[in-house]
């Protein structure tokens, strides 16, 4: 009997439905420990597929008979093999058809705010912890920090019945391949990024973001302010929408601050981050909602289904944000960065337009979680 397949959208719906679900991840333990599907209230166990090659009933102990089991592997092949074995033994089972490969390319759009004159949508690429945004007003849209699957944005624009006018990157990303330039090209929009991020870059058509104090979306409704917030990278720029939503890029996260070490100048960039936090951002009210480009932990998804928190809440919960001593701040930020994002040098090269790769290669380079946030508990 053919075993049921499931795709990422269906899996996400199941996870969110509150229905009981059991994930059996059959990749090898090192891959599982490095990166897995996470959600609140989700049971996930790891038994590598090769354990199922042994005729050993002990392997099946702990697998539930009364709950649907979704089997997951890297690309679908071994999950199918294991799912068929479970099916034969009478388990209620399905498998994620194209595995983590597909999951890594799944985007979930969530409306953060909808008012009379403006709508703000967060697109959550769950597997990577990458967040991007569409700001909509008066039939026009601004897209911030688009990932490389540009169809996700053009499809959303069609369903929202808007035209994408502006596309911007808050900074030169190191953890994922930007879709900014390509999306702009596909939609006839303008592409913006701070020029200091692109020094010496070849072959990318962009407008220097620092030359625009405000971008207009729709009539006059959505006020978009570009605020230089160096620290994660020298040219990092946050976007303030309607004096209310701070699209903070990788500068400020719900759970911490952006890492300053990806340019080999951790201490120098940490100083810029200090100035950003205690001069630029200090002027923003506690009510401002921070919407970052990444999350590091599934717990950062709030009760409304999006990743974001007020500046007041972040200030209250994050020690670094309150560390006004410049030395101590630098020490905390520059000293605690952990493993760098995989392949980040090559990804930066692609985002500068210096390197070109096939979609297959791009997928391979991006696989795994993002590592752009610095954790401080």
């Amino acid at each position: 009997m053919a075993v049921a397949t499931i795709n990422s959208q269906e899996l996400h719906n199941k996870i969110n439905s509150g229905e009981s679900i059991f994930i059996l991840d059959v990749r090898n333990p090192s891959d599982f420990n490095d990166w897995k599907i996470e959600a609140q209230h989700l049971v996930s166990v790891n038994i590598p597929y090769f354990d199922f090659l042994e005729e050993d009933d002990a392997v099946y102990q702990g697998l539930p008979h009364d709950t649907e089991i979704v089997v997951i592997c890297a690309k679908g092949g071994s999950a199918q093999m294991v799912a068929e074995q479970l099916d034969e033994k009478g388990y209620h089972v399905s498998f994620l058809e194209l595995g983590m490969l597909e999951w890594s390319q799944f985007y979930n759009p969530v409306t953060v705010y909808e008012g009379e004159n403006m709508k703000l949508i967060q697109l959550n690429r769950l597997a990577k912890g990458c967040l991007s945004y569409m700001v909509i007003s008066g039939g026009e849209a601004l897209v911030v920090d688009a990932n490389r699957h540009v169809d996700e944005y053009t499809k959303l624009a069609v369903s929202e019945n808007v035209q994408i006018k502006h596309v911007l990157d808050t900074h030169l990303h190191a953890d994922h391949i930007s879709g900014g330039a390509e999306l702009a090209k596909a939609t006839g929009a303008q592409y913006y990024i701070s020029s200091s991020e692109m020094q010496g870059a070849t072959g990318l058509d962009y407008k220097p973001l620092e030359q625009f104090e405000a971008l207009k979306v729709g009539a006059v409704e959505a006020k978009v302010l570009a605020i230089p917030t160096p620290g994660h990278t020298p040219g990092s720029t946050s976007v303030l929408v309607n004096d209310q939503f701070l699209l903070s890029g990788d500068t400020i996260f719900v759970g911490g601050l952006g890492r300053p070490d990806l340019g080999g100048k951790a201490r120098e960039w940490a100083q810029s981050l200090y100035d950003t936090v205690f001069t630029k951002v200090a002027n923003l009210s506690d009510e401002t909602v921070v919407l970052p480009t990444h999350f590091a932990d599934i717990k950062e998804i709030n009760d409304n289904g999006y990743v974001g928190a007020t500046l007041g809440a972040i200030r209250a919960s994050n020690e670094v944000m309150r560390t006004e001593n410049r030395e101590a701040f630098t020490e905390m930020v520059a000293g605690a960065s952990g493993a760098t994002p995989p392949n980040f040098e090559e990804i930066v090269g692609i985002n500068r337009g210096d390197i070109h790769v096939t979609p297959e290669k791009a997928t391979e380079l991006e696989i795994g979680p993002n590592r752009c946030a610095v954790h401080h508990s």
Binding site: N28, Y49, F50, K75, S78
Partner: protein, 75 residues
């Protein structure tokens, strides 16, 4: 390196290289060496984990022109 059995898993994708490896090593006696060749990059991590899990010994592994070679001594 001398192998008692050479297994060709080139062109096969996960889980087939390991399935073949398991079937093949079952035919060997303790102390004999199986050489397996694969082209699936994903096999590299999986193969090491499998060898460890089954208590066998990875004597050597290398890569040439996209072909990964694993030499496994049966426990």
């Amino acid at each position: 390196m001398q192998a008692d059995l050479v297994v060709d898993a080139k062109g096969l994708s996960c889980p087939m290289p390991i399935v073949k490896a398991k079937k093949s090593i079952d035919t060997l006696s303790s102390g004999q060496v199986m050489q397996l060749e694969a082209t699936d990059k994903g096999a590299v991590n999986d193969f090491q984990a499998w060898v460890k899990q089954t208590g066998n010994e990875m004597v050597h592994m290398d890569e040439e022109n996209g072909v990964y070679r694993f030499f496994v001594k049966k426990a």
